[in-house]
Every structure is written in C-alpha cells, then in structure tokens.
Subunit: 468 residues, 2 copies
C-alpha cells in the first residue's frame, strides 16, 4: 500500500475517535479573558500536552508564563530537512450573550455537517487538526518528512500579553524556516484560500477638554469653544470625503500596488451585493481610486471606533460639554509602523485643534502589519497542499484585521509566516453558535499532511544546519 | 409726610416681618420637576394666594392647570391708567447634589448680607418682592397708580408645559399694556441692569445609522462608511473654523447690528479675563467679526450639546459603530423661527451626509427669541425705577439663554415684555447654595414701587380702555 493510501486508511479508521477527541477539547471552557476560567485554561493546556505526547510529538512541555501557559512540543528527526513551527492557541473567546446559543457553548455537537461549539474554528479545531496530522503521519510512516515545533498559547483572545517575552526567552530553541499559522479562514462562499497579509493597527484616544464644568449653552454659547464641535472638527480633518487620510506622511511607508497586485485583487470573486446584504449598509464606501477588495486587503484606513461627550439622554439638556472624547484607530499595511503613525496622528490632531480647547492624544494599542510574498516558496508549498486536499487552487487573500502574533512571531524568529487556515467565513468566530465545517476540518488535516511533504520537496527553505 | 417718606417708613417698620415671610415661602420645597413634591407646589400656590390677599390684591385665585396651579390676582381700580401684568414662578429647581449645600436647601438663613436657600433668587424672592411692593403702596396710599395683574406659575423650572394653554384659555381677562418679569439678573459685579432680549432655541437630534450591528474595523474598515466619522463630518460642516454657521439661510432673519447697537455692546464693562477665570477655558472663541458681548447677546450660534456612538470604555474595541448620535442646538435671535431653522438644519445635514449611511434629524425643543427695544417707553420707565432705587443707571444687557415664557406671554397677550430682574450674577440659581443679595431684594421692592409711578407717568402706554 502506498504512503498516501495508508494515510487515507488510517484517517478513515480513526475518524470517530478523532471527532470524539475534538469534542473533548471543546468541552474545556478555556476562556482566557475571564479569570475564573484560569483553571480551565490550564486544563486545556494539560489536555493538549497529553494529546500531543500520545500523537508521538516529543519534548512536550507545559511552559509557564506570567499568565496562562504555553504548550510546546517538537519532532526534530528529519536531518537536513527544513523546520516548520506551528503556532495556534487553545484559549477561546467569552460566550455571551449565552441566550443566543442553540446549545450551551461548551457542549459541542454536530449538526448539518458542522461542529458547533465555542472554539470549534477559533482556534481549537485547527490546533487539534495539526496534532492529528502529525499523529497520522507518525502512525503510518514512523517519521515526519520535515522537522516540526508546536507552540500553542493560551492568551491569544486576550491580546497575547505574555507571548512576546516567552518567545524572546525561548528563541534559542525555536529555530524554524517557516512559521505556519492556522487561525484564518477561507474566502466568501467557503472557497479555499491562503492569507498573504494581515493589517497592523494603531489605536489611540483623543481627549478634548474645555471649561471646568459643563456650561449653559445659552449663557456661553458663541463665546467659548465647544469641545464636542471641536472634536467633530478634529475628526473630520483626519480623513476626507474621498476616504483619504489627511494625516501628513500617513502613506509614506505604504507600497503602491503593482499592476500584478491589482490584477490579483481584481481576480478575487468578490461580490459587493453580498457585502451590502451582510452588513445592511445602503452603499459601500472607501478610498477613491481603489476597489473594495484593495481597500480591505492592501490599503491603510482610519476609523472612529467610538466617541462621546456631553448630554446623551432623552430629550434635551442645553450645555456646552466640559469634555469630549474619541477612540480612533488606523489599520496599517506594508512598512507602516504603528508608533510612527501615532506620532503623525498626534501632530496632526494638535495642529488642527481649535485654540479654545485643550487636546491630548494617547496611544492605547499597536499591532504591526505582516505580509508574505505570494511567490515565497513556503506559500507555494502551502498552496499545493491545499489544492491537493480540497481539489481547488486556493485564492490568495488579504486579511483586513490584525493578528498581532503574526508579526510578533516573524520578528522573534526571523522566519516567514504562512497563514493556512481552514475556517469557513460564516463560522461565527467570537459570536454565538461558533462552528467549523467538518469537511474543512477533515480536509484541513489532509492538507497539513500534504504540507509536510511539500515543504520537504521545496528548495529554497534553508535546512536547520545551514542556519546554525 | 410725603408719599415717598411714608413708603420708606412703612418698609422700614415691616422689614423684619418681610424677611420672616420671605423665609416662610422658601421653606416650602416646591420642586416642580419631582412628582413627590406636587403637594408642596400646591402648598406654595396656596401660601402665595393667601399672602397676595393679605397684601390687598384682589380676585386672587389658585387656578387649575393639567399640572401645578397658576396663581392669579389683580388690582384694577386705576381708571384710565395702564395695566401691568407681572409674571413670576413659585416653583424651584431640584437641589441635588445635596451634600454641597452649606445648610439644607429648604432651611433658609441669612449670611453675609444674602438670603441662602433654594428659590431665594429664582424666583421666589422676586415674586415675593412684587407682592411686598403692592402691599406697601396699598398700605401707604390705599391705592395703586396703575392697574396690575399677577400671574405666578408653578412649572417654569419644568419648561412651563401647561402655561400656554392656560394663557390662551384666560386671555380674555389678562389684557395688559406691559408685561414685567423679574426672573433675570444684574451684570457682572452686581451692576444694575435691564435685560432687553433673550435668545430663542432650536434643539434637535441627529441619528446616523450604518451597518445592522457594530462591524469589525479590521474586516470592514475602508469598505463601509463609519457612522462616527460620518457624524463628525456632518457636525463639522454645520459651523466653520470662524464660528460662522454654514447652514444655508441660517442668518436670513437676523437683524444686522446697527452702529448704535455696537456702541451699546462696546460700552458694557465686560471683562474677558473674568470670563476666562470663571470658565477655565484657555481662550475665548466665537464668530469672527463680533465681540464676545455681541456674540452672546445678539448673535445666533450652534452648539453640539452631546454626542455618542460606538465604544466608550477603557482601552480598545476595534469596531465600526452601527450608529452614532448628536444633540445639536441653536440659540436664535431677532426673527429667527426655531421651526424654520430646524428645517434648514435638517436639509443641510441631509445634503452633507455621506451616501454610505442613513441620517435622521428630529426636532426636540423650541423657544422663540424675544426682545424689547431699548427705546420702548416701558423700558425707560423701568430704567428710571431701577436708577431711583439703586442709585445707578441700569445697563441694558442681552440674555444669552432662553426664557420661553417671555415670547409665550408676549405672543399670547400682545404686550411688550420688560425684564427687570434683581438677582446677582453669582447667585447660584439652579446650583447648590442659591442666594439673593438682600440689598438687591430690598432695593428691588423699592424699584417695583417706583415702576408703578413711572408707568403711571409714561405716555405711549395705551390705557386699557383704548385696547377694548
């Protein structure tokens, strides 16, 4: 029997056990953001470590951080072959509003070809798939075609506050030629896809203060600057009617789209009507001169995430608010550095602020953008693996959101990151009734198996020896 | 003994009793806005009616409305002489925060030449002064030099919801040549003043809606319009950097200031440093081309009274808000009609709103502006009365706020309104430790007595006979 047939047979035989094991992991309510679930996070880490060991992964360790532990394991016997580092996370999002779930979020069940339950897709299902792939290869071949390290953290849904320091403390034992992350998804309509980039983020707060207390708008209206009017003016000066950010230097580190880039975006089967229906907005909008796909995937933008000040109740209260505030964030691309962009935002805000108010701008959060070229050999290997498992060439897509871990891992390890995720776009990650299409999960396991072989056959990925 | 000396002697003799009676009225917690105080409002109305009867005022009546009653009374035996209608209110503002009061708000006491207690100035003290003036004239002369009607309502601090219908139902018995309202105050530094105008008001709400739910600002940022950005743009288009309202037609019914008007404003001893210190703002602001006094007194303006939308918590939440809102109000002058101005605001907002959002504009509240020319004979009479009682010519000032009752009474009765109020500008009306300078109160009673004589001597006020 060929290696491929043996693998198929093994996966077929173990299908039921695999599904049960998947459910077992989903039953652990490892919500990293709620302190009362800290023991559950540890339980999930322990469960995963035991599962990895049982699968044949070595040097498995539940490694402490200042928060929930990191689970590490490796298999490094493919001498001369490249090393892949797989990153995932075993923690999950909170589950409220609970009343919207068809069944309790930690009582997973299968319905209409999907596994339903918190973490089914994000990210337990995909972590579990990686362990199953290694298990299947080791069971049928006794070895893996490339070296592999696993790094599963427990705080991704809480912003990975302790991952960077753990990475820096352990960088000596994490050497890898490529990082594979399965925490993304497919394109509209569940079409196979590989994500080439994620946008970065710069999140700031603008505080406008004026009079010591709210003033009577009759007695003082027209004589003192109104903080809410001033805030509106400041915000309106950040981005113009054409969706172009007006902050000086904002686009300096943005790489212009090449003709090939634009062709690739144009070829994505994007359906604007579907987006209108999905969001309920009367019309799409955005930066003049770019398509919707380009705007979401390759262009930076600026959004007011919230604003408040003065009277917010029913009816009327005639005041000039003593203060007004806004949360403002920018999605970043290419070489835009969130700290540099914050400085430019702050300078711009202070320059356009009217003289009758005081304005402060403070930085709240940052994430670096991350991208991997479509022609990187590891991307090609992943594409062939997906194609083999799903029977269709993957689309190359760009994530509009930010996955801070991507840039963090790339910076710490100096290795390219391939985002090969199998979630379906309507999987309700972070929402009630999270699900994973089981066909995606099963084929995903096969795609990961293929990836091992494809990476082994790919030239241009330096073997560990060459890196020493 | 001359009439004047007899009056002085009477007021000196009755000083102690008068102060005790003032305190009695202040002890009744007639907060019109709190339903649990409805019996107290009625008690205040009954107290006032008994007090008026005892003073010699006739046809005193506690007249029902759908809310708290109106107290009416008159004295109409000055055949051939004009008729003055005195408006005031016996209800008071709420008292929270209670802990900031030196003593309980309804336990009035005298300190440093002031009466302290809720209602001391606004408006019980001034209502009480009017009754005392009539009482003194009737006691010393047996008659009044002009006819007088009293109309004291109990819902002014709640927006006078039932006054207009009461006025319309009783207009047949309210004929008057001049309306006198003592519910305003003096100029900075307690300098005697007569208020020639109050601004009107138009209060609206702008609701911007976009996606059905908050969207992830990463996945959708740059592709759908952001409601908070859109709101900021709309608001910034309402008034420019120079403080000029950009709504088409906004200034159409505003009378340009004459050279005499500007001289009068320039002569007001306004102190900008005092306003900076009082408010704590870093700089004054307002419409280019006008002085601060002109801006507050004679120019319309536009203020955002509150705004809200999206995430307002600590740290960050990366969303495109599903909706964003603002309260916007305009202070109005001259012939600006709040309903017309609302229509223009709405048209302007809808014209500048970006296409990716839905916008609604709704009217919440209106008040007509009101003004009386400085050269109106009744204003001259009031000025001479104030001058005689306070030993200084009053300043002619303009109230920035709105007193809806002014226009309501003027429209219903077709008579000019003279705003002759005696509150000191630092009297903490609507705030803890409300007070009335007792010298203002005592001299105010004398000024009201003088006003009777001055009106009797003023030609150009039609006697009631001529009005029939």
């Amino acid at each position: 029997m060929s290696e491929a047939k043996e693998l198929d047979a093994y996966l077929a035989e173990t299908a039921e056990r695999r599904l049960e094991s998947y459910k077992e992991l989903l039953r652990i309510p490892s919500i990293s953001g709620l302190s009362e679930h800290a023991p559950d996070c540890r339980r999930a880490a322990d469960w995963l470590a035991a599962d990895m060991l049982a699968a044949g992964i070595e040097r498995v360790e539940v490694s402490e951080t200042r928060g929930h532990p990191v689970v590490y394991g490796d298999w490094l016997h493919a001498l001369g072959a490249p090393t892949m580092l797989v990153y995932g996370h075993y923690d999950v999002q909170p589950v409220d509003p609970l009343e919207l779930w068809q069944r309790p979020p930690f009582e997973p069940f299968v319905k209409d070809g999907r596994m339903l339950g918190r973490g089914a897709a994000d990210d337990k299902g995909q972590v579990h798939a990686h362990v199953r792939a290694a298990e299947a290869l080791l069971a049928t071949r006794g070895r893996l075609p490339v070296n592999v390290r696993y790094l599963f953290e427990g705080e991704e849904e809480s912003g990975s506050p302790n991952l960077e320091s753990w990475l820096l403390a352990n960088v000596g034992r994490l050497a890898a030629d490529v990082v594979v992350i399965s925490d993304t998804g497919f394109f509209q309509g569940n079409r196979p896809a590989i994500t080439l980039s994620v946008r970065g983020n710069m999140y700031a707060q603008i505080d406008v203060t004026g009079p010591d207390v709210d003033l009577h708008s009759g007695s003082y209206g027209g004589a003192v600057e109104n903080t809410a009017n001033a805030l509106a003016r400041i915000l309106s000066e950040l981005k113009d009617r054409d969706g172009i950010v007006r902050i000086a230097g904002f686009y300096d580190e943005v790489t212009p789209l090449s003709a090939a880039d634009r062709r690739a975006f144009a070829e994505l089967p994007f359906d604007p009507d579907a987006l209108l229906a999905e969001t309920g907005v009367p019309a799409l909008a955005g930066e003049t001169g770019y398509t919707v796909s380009e705007r979401r995937g390759s262009r930076p933008t600026l959004d007011v995430n919230g604003l408040w000040g003065g009277f917010q109740g029913e009816r009327s209260k005639t005041i000039i608010p003593a203060h007004a505030h806004a949360k403002v964030s920018c999605r970043l691309v290419a070489d835009q550095d969130p700290h540099v962009i914050f400085g430019r935002l702050r300078d711009h805000v202070l320059a356009v602020a009217p003289p009758g108010v005081r304005v402060e701008v403070s930085l709240i959060d940052t994430a670096l953008p991350m991208s991997t070229p479509a022609d990187h050999p590891a991307v090609g290997a992943a594409a062939r693996a997906v194609s083999a498992a799903f029977g269709a060439d993957p689309l190359y897509i760009h994530g509009g959101g930010s996955i801070p871990v991507c840039a963090m891992v790339r910076e710490a390890l100096g290795a390219p990151v391939v985002l090969m995720g199998f979630a379906n776009p309507d999987d309700n990650a972070h929402a009630p009734n999270e699900s994973m299409v089981l066909a995606n999960w099963e084929r995903g396991i096969r795609a990961i198996c293929c990836l091992f072989d494809e990476l082994a056959a790919t030239s241009g990925l330096a073997p560990p020896a060459a890196r020493a």
